[in-house]
């Protein structure tokens, strides 16, 4: 069987940052593997290790810079990678959920996976919608926010727990093929071994353009237009104690005594 894992390189913002026009200034950004995707990769690799007929393929929409992140996924045990990029994508203001689903869907249509694992959301855009939109695009079944997965590939069913709000989990059987969006905490993502990192350099990483995928450049167009980005005005009216650690600790201690948290 084949598992396709969607992997995103996300931008993380420094504590002190600047906004340049409609986005964060490049100098304030660091790039990393999306946290949720790390768990999705681990889940796929764990399944592939338990069986001898599983191929794990990653798909990423991202510029050449993202290859460092993709190699990390390969080092953790994915077998090969597809990276989608194009001038039309580069020129787009941003990619909306529909565009992402179309791009990933075109790769899924070629790869014909049995299972697609994606992260619940990306840490930068926080749409939380691409996995389910992808499922609809390619005609797969789906489940959002999965924090436990038992795969019965022969029966064609994934038995999952969906993490609902308030400490409640929904137990659901999902027909394959399916897209599952993976929640953090489902497993313990491994660190890439030195051997894995070396091997990753030799694993196939294929770059595909819109034309390669048979997509029209209009696929990245969106009815949404970003019109501004700004720092939210702080609503803080907190009393912030100033001074050295022993001084601030003393202020807090006095407060806690006042509140009766502790006697004397």
């Amino acid at each position: 069987m084949k598992i396709l894992v969607t992997v995103k390189e996300v931008a993380e913002v420094d504590d002190e940052f600047e906004i340049d026009g409609l986005d964060i200034a490049e100098g304030s950004l660091e790039y990393d593997l999306n946290e949720w995707d790390d768990y999705a990769i681990e889940e796929a690799v764990t399944i592939s290790e338990a069986r001898d007929d599983v191929e794990v393929v990653t798909v990423t929409v991202g510029p050449e810079r993202a290859e460092e992140t993709i190699r990390m996924a390969l080092a953790k045990g994915a077998d090969r990678a597809v990276r989608v990029w194009d001038d039309a994508i580069e020129d787009a203001q941003f990619l909306d959920v529909d565009a992402k689903a179309e791009l990933l869907g075109a790769v899924a249509a070629e790869e014909e996976p049995d299972l697609v694992l994606s992260g619940v959301q990306a840490g930068d855009d926080s749409n939380g919608a691409t996995g389910v939109a992808l499922a609809e695009t390619i005609g797969f079944e789906w489940a959002a926010v999965v924090n436990q997965l038992d795969l019965d590939a022969d029966a064609g069913v994934a038995s999952v727990h969906r993490e609902l709000e308030g400490g409640i989990e929904e137990l659901t059987d999902v027909d394959l093929p399916a897209v599952l969006t993976i929640q953090t905490g489902i497993n313990e993502p491994r660190y890439a071994s030195l051997r894995g990192i070396r091997q990753a350099q030799r694993k196939p990483l294929e770059v595909r353009s819109l034309e390669d995928l048979g997509l029209d450049p209009s696929v990245v167009e969106s009815p949404l237009e970003r019109t501004s980005m700004y720092e939210p005005t702080s609503e803080s009216d907190a009393t912030v104690w100033q001074g050295s650690a022993d001084e601030t600790a003393e202020s807090l201690a006095s407060l806690l005594r006042e509140k009766g948290v502790i006697e004397g």
Binding site: A129, T130, G166, P223, E231, S251, L255
Partner: protein, 322 residues
């Protein structure tokens, strides 16, 4: 025209976000100068319709299909209702279940989708506001589409309270059972374990700033010295450093202690949802812009590894060697 909002319920209870959706829906309907319709799918629809009959709602559509949420049923029912009402805006909660069907409906019907909306303004085009980069910035988007789907962040709009005089109509959806590819078999509650953090008067709560499992004893010692209960934000539980029953937040427990001390917690919206009802909130965090300070009453902008040992000493304890 029309704004259509879809309510959410679980295990017999209408979820609070449903009444918040009524408020948001009425606000948008006013912007668009149109009606507000509310739909409820599955469960005891008549009882839910009674609770949804709030000021500002024009029509309530009940879809009597199934007991609990099933995304296949919801997708089909909402799409059929959408075809019938032809609404400008479809509003869905930005919840785990909302995000399990709204993207499918939007994709299938070719509607533009914006998730996790915290505010909107104007009608033509509507401008929506959402947060990005972990809440560090807000972004605005013009939605240049005749019809669209917005998922509404919980607890951003107040719940609609005043009773209304809506018309309730049963909507007969034609559900293709054979097309349902998922079966919901039941629910499971996260184990209670050794301690109930919702009962505590004082919580000492630890987050990502603690950096390493080996540093957890520092916070345990503080909790001991204060006679307080230890809790945490999500990453600590995800890493397996503390059990799940200690987790405060949207997917964990909602707590309302007298005093909540957040240590090394940035205050992501999912965490804040679980502790904002605390009487007094104290934050210890190195980042003065961390959102936790928006709701904190007191703060210490300093390194927790400097402050916490001093605090332990203040209460006659001894900071562990890390």
């Amino acid at each position: 025209m029309t704004v259509l909002a879809v309510a959410e319920h679980r295990r017999g209870d209408l979820r609070d976000v449903s009444l918040e959706l009524v408020t948001a829906g009425r606000e948008l309907a006013d912007e668009l100068d149109t009606d507000l319709a509310v739909a409820v799918v599955g469960g005891d629809v008549d009882a839910f319709a009674g609770r949804l009959d709030r000021e500002g709602v024009d029509t309530i559509y009940t879809v009597s299909e199934g007991e609990e949420f099933n995304h296949g049923v919801y997708t089909q029912a909402v799409e059929q209702l959408h075809a019938d009402l032809d609404p400008t805006a479809l509003l869905v909660p930005n919840s785990v279940n909302g995000l399990d069907y709204a993207p499918a409906v939007a994709d299938d019907l070719g509607l533009s989708l914006v998730t996790d909306v915290v505010a909107f303004e104007g009608g033509d085009p509507i401008e929506v506001i959402r947060e990005q980069y972990g809440g560090k910035v807000e972004t605005t988007y013009d939605v240049e589409a005749d019809q669209y789907v917005l998922t509404i962040r919980p607890a951003e709009w107040p719940a609609a309270e005043a009773s209304g005089d809506a018309t309730t109509e049963a909507f007969e959806a034609d559900i293709d059972e054979a097309a349902l590819g998922t079966t919901v078999n039941g629910f499971e509650e996260v184990a209670g374990g050794d301690v109930d953090i919702t009962e505590a008067d004082v919580l000492v709560s630890v987050g990502r700033g603690i950096e390493d499992e080996e540093n957890i004893p520092l916070i345990e010692e503080l909790a001991d010295a204060l006679g307080a209960t230890l809790s945490s934000s999500r990453p600590i539980v995800d890493n397996g450093w503390l059990p799940q029953n200690r987790q405060v937040g949207q997917s964990g427990k909602v707590v309302t202690p007298d005093v909540y001390i957040a240590i090394g917690i940035s205050g992501a919206v999912q965490h804040v949802a679980g502790m904002k009802g605390s009487d007094t909130i104290v934050a210890i965090n190195t980042d003065p812009n961390a959102p936790i300070y928006d709701i904190a009453d007191y703060g210490i902008v300093d390194d927790l590894f400097e402050v916490v040992p001093e605090l332990i000493e203040q209460f006659g304890g001894e900071a562990p060697d890390l």
